[in-house]
Structure formats: structure tokens, C-alpha cells
Symmetry: D2
Subunit: 390 residues, 4 copies
Amino acid sequence: MSVGFQILDDLACLQTRVREFISTQIIPLESDPRQGPHSPEEGLCRELIARARSAELLSPHVAPEYGGLGLTHQGRAIVFEEAGYSMLGPVALNIFAPDEGNMHLLEAVATPAQKERWLRPLAAGEIRSCFCMTEPPPGAGSDPSMLKSTARPDGDGYVIDGLKWFTTGAESSTLAIIMADVPGTGATMFLADMHAPGITIERSLQTLDTCFPGGHGVVRFEGLRVATSDILGELGQGFRNAQVRLSPARLTHCMRWLGAARRAHDIAVDYARTRYAFGKTIGEHEGVGFMLADNEMDLHGARLAIWHCAGVLDQDELGLHESSRAKVMVSEAVWRVADRCVQILGGQGVTGETVVARIFADMRAFRIYDGPSEVHRWSLAKRILKGTRR
Amino acid sequence: MSVGFQILDDLACLQTRVREFISTQIIPLESDPRQGPHSPEEGLCRELIARARSAELLSPHVAPEYGGLGLTHQGRAIVFEEAGYSMLGPVALNIFAPDEGNMHLLEAVATPAQKERWLRPLAAGEIRSCFCMTEPPPGAGSDPSMLKSTARPDGDGYVIDGLKWFTTGAESSTLAIIMADVPGTGATMFLADMHAPGITIERSLQTLDTCFPGGHGVVRFEGLRVATSDILGELGQGFRNAQVRLSPARLTHCMRWLGAARRAHDIAVDYARTRYAFGKTIGEHEGVGFMLADNEMDLHGARLAIWHCAGVLDQDELGLHESSRAKVMVSEAVWRVADRCVQILGGQGVTGETVVARIFADMRAFRIYDGPSEVHRWSLAKRILKGTRR
Amino acid sequence: MSVGFQILDDLACLQTRVREFISTQIIPLESDPRQGPHSPEEGLCRELIARARSAELLSPHVAPEYGGLGLTHQGRAIVFEEAGYSMLGPVALNIFAPDEGNMHLLEAVATPAQKERWLRPLAAGEIRSCFCMTEPPPGAGSDPSMLKSTARPDGDGYVIDGLKWFTTGAESSTLAIIMADVPGTGATMFLADMHAPGITIERSLQTLDTCFPGGHGVVRFEGLRVATSDILGELGQGFRNAQVRLSPARLTHCMRWLGAARRAHDIAVDYARTRYAFGKTIGEHEGVGFMLADNEMDLHGARLAIWHCAGVLDQDELGLHESSRAKVMVSEAVWRVADRCVQILGGQGVTGETVVARIFADMRAFRIYDGPSEVHRWSLAKRILKGTRR
Amino acid sequence: MSVGFQILDDLACLQTRVREFISTQIIPLESDPRQGPHSPEEGLCRELIARARSAELLSPHVAPEYGGLGLTHQGRAIVFEEAGYSMLGPVALNIFAPDEGNMHLLEAVATPAQKERWLRPLAAGEIRSCFCMTEPPPGAGSDPSMLKSTARPDGDGYVIDGLKWFTTGAESSTLAIIMADVPGTGATMFLADMHAPGITIERSLQTLDTCFPGGHGVVRFEGLRVATSDILGELGQGFRNAQVRLSPARLTHCMRWLGAARRAHDIAVDYARTRYAFGKTIGEHEGVGFMLADNEMDLHGARLAIWHCAGVLDQDELGLHESSRAKVMVSEAVWRVADRCVQILGGQGVTGETVVARIFADMRAFRIYDGPSEVHRWSLAKRILKGTRR
């Protein structure tokens, strides 16, 4: 039996390097004025990436032949948590959403030519990408089968029409991965250059979260022409592709947010140690101390759930059930942590005096992005009832 | 026995008027560009107040002789909830924090001259006021006894020195009510003109909430001279004054936020009725329907708790225990409502597409402002253990 | 406006009398050995009722012409809470389930002859009754439309066949109110003598709760003959009858359990005041103190919800929505109270050293009896979505 | 790195054997009439143990030289969960509390002579033992420093006086491990024969739980003489001994209860699959389905927390922090599971129709036994604040 939880030497060493990198190279940039109101600006993003490149930590999840470190999912669990400790860390390491998941998908299903054209510069941090799937009502949201965007065969290619929103990173992307219905054939993914005629970013959504470079765009496709060679994976296999991306992308979200929650907790612990009220430090008041204990339990439980699911993915399983489960467990646990940290900091907790308020606002979306908790609970229930899960 | 919950005719009529006023006169202004990123701007505030004045709804809590409607606490419960239905409603009716509580305090303890000078223009919506009590660490936060600001006798008056923060409305106020320690005598409240020499607004705090005109300032007093006639109430009775203001101000906060939570709920209900997923409206999914049911229970429970406490205050009791209890019950209930509404709206819930995200962000502070839940639970416990409460 | 919560003089006086009666006459009998393992035994029941009769407190909800005090629903709210303070109190006052609801139903819909035969001795505490509605799977449980028992016309009467369970009080009842389907006509209620041929109590269910005299029986009807004059209300109107009984019966359950929860809380407060650990009383530890504060908030919220709903019923409304809402709010609030009290008492909390463990075990069923929380949330949601509720 | 969660072959095989043993040999005995109202009777215990002996599964945690399988803590995690699937399983395998922890302690600190005399027959299932530590107020409960029992030097031995309660298994034990204060020297553990003069079992506590053979006794020591050779470990080192026992005993409690919770969940799943209401199985109602999903998340999280902590103990660490954390996480998670299972089963959930009600009642104590959640949260907080934990 091996229910070990030790981090082996190589990875422990990498963990230390990332932790130090975040602490010394990235956190100081958090107060950089280029951290705009809605997301980090281009110039700041470039500097972050340059620092990670120098530190040889760029795109660690990508295969070495495309410039990465080829980390397993368990390896990602360690590194991404460390990166997430700063809201700028994932940008620096080039492992933020949706690029990280897009690279994972391209590596898994793209043709060699597609990889050269898109994956290589993505992994090098030279371009960025977006994933055009979610549509405004009455289109595809939690229920992907409600897909309204279409890709109609036209000559030797396709013409795409439709409206997407919550297209994270739209404004700063070069590559778009577009999900559209090929009538009679089914959902299919296409690759397109965001600067191609027929793509318009109508506006950016104002959101509680401000950590995604390029924000969340509303993207319109009108007569966008794509070639057959721009199909990602196979025709009509859009949902199968989506599943390849799904579990890993969910889980890396968990990893990054776990790091952010740990950061908030560390700040709350420091405050609880030093702030006095009613004759002792607030940490010595059980009302606060118990919240710290609950934080630690939530962080610990979240980490174990991530590690477990990463182990499943490392065995080349799709892990749809496990990643659904981990996503709900982690997103709700880290949310509780963020909420408690705000409370512990008192008035300060709702201000910009620390990063906690920002982590809190950013994190609220995580119970919704990648499928709201309710949709995951529903899928979990169906599998439990079918008896396909013990 | 009378455990009636009927709203008598007069008040029901006023309720209808306020509801209509908010719906037709105020909500359309929510998308006004003068609703700045941190709080409504001056011009917008003036327009809101002008509309309420025309509608004869301005300062309804103030005694008729100072231009108000002389509402009881139970009357306020009805009117303030309606006003809170729009985040701009309390500004319009001149019943937002801290002005509403300040007017209440002035009416209760100010001298006739002080009332003429400050209460009359406040009630008329001509000037605004702030309440300078909270100090940054290591000063007075949840624990008011840690007061660091001082007012030293000097000639025929006092000289005030100190640093305050979370001074809501500081940037747009004319009147400051300042709590400071008169050494050897005790905490005392003073009235001062914010434009007097010796008062500096160092900066405004960035906060999750954006509904308070004038934001939350950091205010420094350096050699601020005040006259003996500027003492509010009696020398050394600052904390007793604070208690006069405390329960009513807590409770009106509850009323306004209840209105805001009801607004979020109504938006969520509309969305749940019309958005489809997995073959039916999302409201027909129990996962969403149960959240709506929980919302209604929380709103109902919050309203009853407010009405009950208002009844206690209307009997001229200080109501410290009852208002602590109501504050925790209501602030936590409406928070749960806001959080569920975000979740029901899915991706949209975290955007500016509806006001729900804003209500959510605004409301987080309410579990902290006016004393964090933990401090109230602690006071409740102490009284329960002493046996002063059944 | 009247959102008053004062208990008027007459009722306040009655409240005091009941409180004193419970304290001096009933609580001492809690350790009586005739309090059997599954429910109070007959002899004890008779003594309890005799004491209430002497105190002129028997059947206070019944009309004076049948020997009661003719309390309104709001009056019941006060008196039943006091009675519920002892698990034996409702038996003494003859207001326990299902008799109390049965009397209410008989008073509302029975013929004068039926009232003489059944209501009068019930109200006098001379006989007891059961309500035969719930059936084991696959029959009518939460979903009453799954009714399997039948009443087939036969001669000038009907023949009833079917199997019921959770028939509370079956073993000690003289009167059975039986819900059965008249094929082609619909659900109908019948009155029958439990000693009539064709009625067999197969066994009593072992349950967590032990407070219901006569336990919960499994009752079989085989060829039970009833006359047309035994129809309660009208033919085919069984569900309409059920609705008459439904809201009041739900709400009186809430009242009694509120009293029980208050009892548990009082015991926990006493313990928290006197038990020392780690250098101070456990009540002074915030971990315990906060639980006491939460208890008080839950008890207060439950009481307000009951009073509000009683006010609705006193206006002769069916109150289906309001009583569903109150039932969920109260049953979950008092459960949290009972659970916290167990926790505060520590090891003792799970023993027979106090009545808290018993209240805890009894109370668990309350989130299920009278409709599980899930069914109520579902109905609440449906009405909210239909817009029939604001 | 190794964050593997695979169960290696040997242990997987043992897991299968235990699972089959419980399913075929033990569960059928659950309806045995010798399962008394308060605990399994002697005859039944003997039969259970005989079956485990035949299956070569007796005392698997004990070293092979004393007849066990010498399982690591991680091995115990697997086997004990399987055993806990039936409330009789731990009795059969001789791994219930307090015997299992007592054997662990004896193996760690007893002299060879003490082991021969006590450990060997204990491991063989021939005798049973109790652990006399907890005292009624004002003695040692959650706060062990309040120890009131004394062991006064007398001749070449000691004389013990004191009153203990919650002495699990007292009525069926041969060996007592007694914690008493040697004045001036400190808390010390002694071994004694329960039949020695000076030991009286005053009575057994009535408790919600009924799964511990021998119940929970109140034990009085009056002039009990013990020899110096009866000291367990060293004089004055009672608390150090207690720490040796503490973490493993806490954790095995978690393991067994996890099995019980899984059992309840399996029963609830079966019911949710087959019971119809409102036109579909109740499992298809999200209100129930979500509870099943939450159950699975809680069971999964509890298992990971146990496995992690077992891994720490297997590295010969005391694991006080980790086992406190695991104890709170697991006891609260499995409680939520048991509570949901009762709710899913509806009326049946509170009856003896399934074992769920019993698991529920048994499990309530687990949030209190081995230290209530509040005491653990407090210790966790103190270590977090000290910074001894990351």
C-alpha cells in the first residue's frame, strides 16, 4: 500500500524554487500601477513572463519539446499552488486560464502543424489565446448542448457565426479556439486568429474578478471563414475535445486558487497575531482562533482532494467524476477561507490595504466558472445513483 | 395579546408611495454615468435628493419641526426597506449611513443652537456629515475603549489630535462628529466643520462597497481647535452618546440592506423563471428552486427580526441586546441571500449585467460594519450567561 | 401600523399559569418510572391529564362548548410553547400530536353527532385518537397522491382495505381517522373505532423519538366496514380536509418543539455557567458562548416565525405557504439548538443525566414529520416562481 | 514525488477479505436478539470474536508476536473502515474503543511482564479492558489537568481514590488502566484488575450510543491498592503516556466511523433509487441527489484526511496536530453524512427499519468523545498562531 503524501526530492526542490520566485520576484509587482482595475495590463504581463523565463519556470506544464518542464498533474499540483500564492504568479508562469488549458488541449489533439503555429509561441509566452465556448442566454452556458453558434460548410472551409461571452482573455489573445455546431455533424472546435475579419470583440464584461489578463469579452463571429485544416481534433468531436480539456483545466483552477486562499490565510494569521482587542490579540479570542482552525482544515482538505484527483489524471483517466468532485470541494473550501479572512481582518478586510479583498472578489466566480457547484452536484448524483461509483 | 404583523393603513400608503418613487424615479438613475466607481458623485446625489424633496419623502426619520416625517422605528422599518431596494434610494431619502444616524443623535442630544446650525441643513439635504470614531490599529476598532485620539483642554476650548479611518462620507461632509478622549475625563464627542484648519483627509480607502457617497476616508486631526459649545451632549459622555446612536443606527442598516437583498432576490427569481438549462427553466431545478426558498425564508426572518427590534426601540428602550441580535441575524441572512442570487445568475452573477454583483460586493462589509458578528455574539453570550436575558 | 409583539394582559397571565404548572406539576414527573422506553405509559398519561384538568388547562385550543379555552392560534403559540418546555407537558394539556390536530379538524368539519361522539370525550382527555394517512412504500408518504388504501362502496357503507404506518398513538387510540381512496371519487376521510373488527395493529415502529403516547403503529385494515355517517366532511374531499388540518397542525408542532428547545438551551446555559475547563467557566470560552448566542438567535427567529404564521391563520387563511415556510424555519432552527446543547454539555450531553439527549433524539424526526424540509422547500419554490408570493 | 493513493496489492487483498467477512459473517448477526438495547451482550461478543479468529482477522493492529497482523496505521485505515461498515465489525475484529487503543498503549510502554499478563489475553480476545481517565464535574473532562483522582504512596505501592465516568466497557472489563495524580509527582497510569477490592461500578450511563460492549460506566475507586509494578510507563508520566495513545486512538475512531457512515450512505443510495415520489425516484429529485453528492464528498474528504494522518503516524511522529485536525474533519463530515441519510430515508430514517437511525444516534457522540470539536479547534488555533504549523 502506498497512501504516501510525501513530496519527492526533485519536486520539493522545484517547489522551493517557485515559492522563492513568487516571493521575491512577483509579489513586489503586485503594487505595480500597471495592475489595472480590471486585469493586469500588457506591459506588466510581459515583465512577469520575462521574469519567469529567466527563472526557467515558464510554462512548466508543457512538454519539454515545446519549452516546458513536462510536469505531471501531481507536479502541477505543487507548482501551481505556489504560483497562485500571488494573483500575478499564474500570469508569470504562463499557467493562467484559459491559456494553460488551451495549451494542454493543443498538446493532446492538435496536428503537428497546428502545434508549431500556435502551441510553440503560446508556450513561449509570446502570444495568448482564448476559448470561445460560453454563450449568453439562450445559448450554451452550464448546458453545453444549447450551443447556438454555427459553422456552416462553405467551399473548402467553414463559415462561423455566433455570439460568445465570458471569453476570458479575449482582448489580449491572438488565438481563438471556437466551439461551433456544424449542422448535421455536431459540435466542432476550430482554431482562428483573433485578428481575422469576422471577429469582433463587442465589449468586455465588468466582473468581480480582476485577475484575468484581457478580461472577459463578448465576442461576435460574423461570417468568419476558417479552413478545414483549422479544425482542432476531429469534425463533430467538439465535446470529446472539451472533455480532454475539462478535468485538467478544472483541477488547475483548483490548484491556483488554493494558493490564493493560502495567501489570504497567511495574512489573516499575521493580523490575528498582532491586532489587539478587548485585552488580548484577536487570535487569542476563540471566535477568531476557530476561524483560523477552520481555514487550516479547509486548506488541508482542498489540497488532499487536488492531489488525489491529480493522481487519477496521471493514470491517464478522464477523471470526469473525480474532477467534478474535487472542483466542488475545493471551490467551496477556498471560498470559505477567503470569506473568513475578510472577517478576521475586520474593516481592513474589505479594503485595498491588503490583497485579501481582491482574492475574495476574484474567488467568488470560482464557484461558477468551470460549471457551477449545482451542475457538478447533479452529475455526481447521477453517477452515484447509476452505481458507476462506489 | 397582539402579535399582529399588519401594517396599518397610513403606513401602508406611505410604503406604496416610497415603492413607486424608488421604482420610477430612482432605479432609472442607477445606470447614470455619475454613479462613479467608488460612490455616487455629488451631482447625482443632488439630483436624487431633489427628487425625494419633490416627492415629500426627504429625511422621513427626522422630526417634523426639522422637516421630516417623524417616523417611529417601526415606520422606518417599512420605509427604509423600500428605499434600500435601490442602492441609490437611501441617498435620495437622505437616510444613508452615517447621516441618518447622525441626525438621530443630534435630535436626541444636541443643544437647540447645535440643532439649528447642523441638524436643520442636514435634514434638508443641504449638507452632509461624517462620524469620526473608528481608528486604525492600534486604535479603537471593535473595541472602543482603545480610543487613541485626544481632546486636550486648551484655553476656553479643546485641541483635538488623532487619526481616524473608515470615516464614511468624509470627502463630501461639512460636519464632523468626532470622538476623542479628554484625558482624565473620558471619551467625549465634538462637532466640527470639516473645512476647519487642523482637519486633513489623507486619502480614501478602496473598498468592496461603493454605495456610500464620499467613500471611506482616512482623516487626520492635528491641532484642531473646538469650543466648549461644540461638545455634543456632555463632557466625558461620549460612550453614552454612542449608545444613543448605536441601536437605531444598527437597525436602519438592517432595514436598508434588507431592501437590497430583496432586490437581488427579485432579479434572481426573474432569471430563474426564464433561463433554460437541461430541458427546463433553471427555477424548476430543485438545486435553484431550493435556493429561492431559502432566500424567502431568510428575507422573512430578517424582516421579522427588524420589526421586533423596532418595536422595542419604539418603547424608548436602548435595545442594545435586541439590536445586537437583530444585526447579526439580519446581516448574515441578507448576505446568504446575496450570495445565492449571484450563484443563481451563474456567470452573469459576477458581472455588471445586473446590480446583483454590486449588491453582493457592497453587502460583504455589513457583517463587519457596526461591529463584526463575532463581537456581537460575544456580547450576546455575556448577557445570556449573566442571566439578564431569558 | 402595528408590528407589535407584546403579549396582552390576559394571555400573559395564562402564560404565567402554564409556566408555573409545567414547572411545579409536570417536570417532577419526568423521572417517573412510568415514562417508558418508547413513550409515556397509560397510567402516567392519565395522571398528567388529571393534573391539567385540575389546573383548568386541559385542551385549551378547543372551543369552550367542548370544554376548552377557545384559544386563537396566537394564543396557542404562547401556551403550547410553555407546555412543550416539558416533553410531558403536551400530553398533560391534551395538545400533543395527533390528537390536537384531530380535535381541530373535528371541530372544523365534523357533524354535530360526530362531535358528540368523538370530539367531546377527546377534549375531555377520556379517549385518544390517531390519524391514519401515511403508508409504507410504495404508498403515500411525502406524496399524498400515491394513496393505496381503498374504501369501496358496499351496501349502505364502505369497506376499507389498506396498510398504514407511522400511525402515531395507534396503540392507545379509540378513534381512527382514516384516509382512503374511494375509487372513481377520490380520497375520503372516515371515522372508525380502533376496536372495530378489521383493524389490526401489526406492530409498533422503533423510533428515535419517544415522546408520543402510543408510539407509532403499523395498522392494517382488512374488510373494515364503515357507515356513510362515518364519512368525515364530504365524500371525495379527503385532501381538502387534510388542508384544513395541515397548517394548524404543522404550526402547533413548531410551538411545542420551540418549548423543548428552550428547555435544552436553559440547561445548557446553566451548565456553561458552572462547568470549568482551562481556567474559566466554559461559557466564558467564546467557542461555547457563541453557541449560546446562536441558540438565542435561533429561538428568537423561530418564535417570530410562529407568531407571524399564527397571525395569518387567525385571519382565517389556509396559510399553506406561510406554514410551510414556518415549519422549515422552525424545525431547522430548533434542531440546531438541540444539537448545540448536546455539544455544550459534552459527554453528559449524550447521556440520560439531563433531558437534553432525549429532546435531541425526539427532535430529529421533526425535520421529517409533517413533510420533510425538502418537500416544503419545493412547494415554496413553486409558489415563488409562479409569482403568487412576493 | 509520491502523492499516490493506490492501495498496494497485499493490502487490497486484505481489504477484500475483511469486506467479505463483514458482509457474510457479521452483518447477518446485526438482527441477533443478543444485540441488547445498550450494547451487544457477552454471548454475542464471544461469537463475533470467534468468527474473526476463524477468519484470521482478530486484532490486526497488534504485533504478530502477540497474535495480530502488525498493521501499519495506513493498513489500519483500510481494515478498520471495512470493519466499521457494521457496528458489530469492530467488536468482532477486537478493534473497538477503548481496547484497541489500550492494546496499542500496552504494546508501546508496558513491561514484558505486563504485556504477558494483559496484552496477550487482550489481543486474543479473551479479556477486555477499560480506560479510566474521564471524571465527572468538577474533575477532568476536556481539560485533563483538572484530574481529581489520587494515587497516594502507601507502603511499597499506592492507594487509589477517585471517581471516573464515561469509562467505556467498564462492565465487561478485566483490566483497568487508571489515570490518577500522585501528589507532588504528577499524573500516573496504573494497571488494575477490575475485580480487585476497592473498585465499584456504581452504574452505567444511559447514552445515545449503544455500540460499545459494556456501555459507559461510573467507576469508583476507594482504597484501591496497586503495586509499583502496576505502574504503566513511568511514575509521573501519565500525560506523556496519554499522548502515545492519543493520536492513534483518535484516528482509529475516525476509521471505524467512516465505515459506518459509508454503510448509511449505501442504504440511502439504495432507497433513493427505488422510492418514488412526485413522479420519479426520490434520487432523481435534486433535493435528494445533491445530498448524495454531498455525502460522497464528505466520505471522500474524510478518507483522505485519515489516510494522510495515518501516513504521518507511520513516520513515528506523535501527530498531535494532524490527528486533532483529522478528528474534527472526520467526525463532522461523517456526522453530516449520517444526518443526511436519515433525512433521505424520510420517516423510515428515524426508525429501526434500517441501521441508519442507530448509526446516527451512535455517531452523535463522536463529535464529543476524544475531545469535543471546540477543544481541538482551540489547540489547532494555538499552534497556528504560534507559527509551529505552516
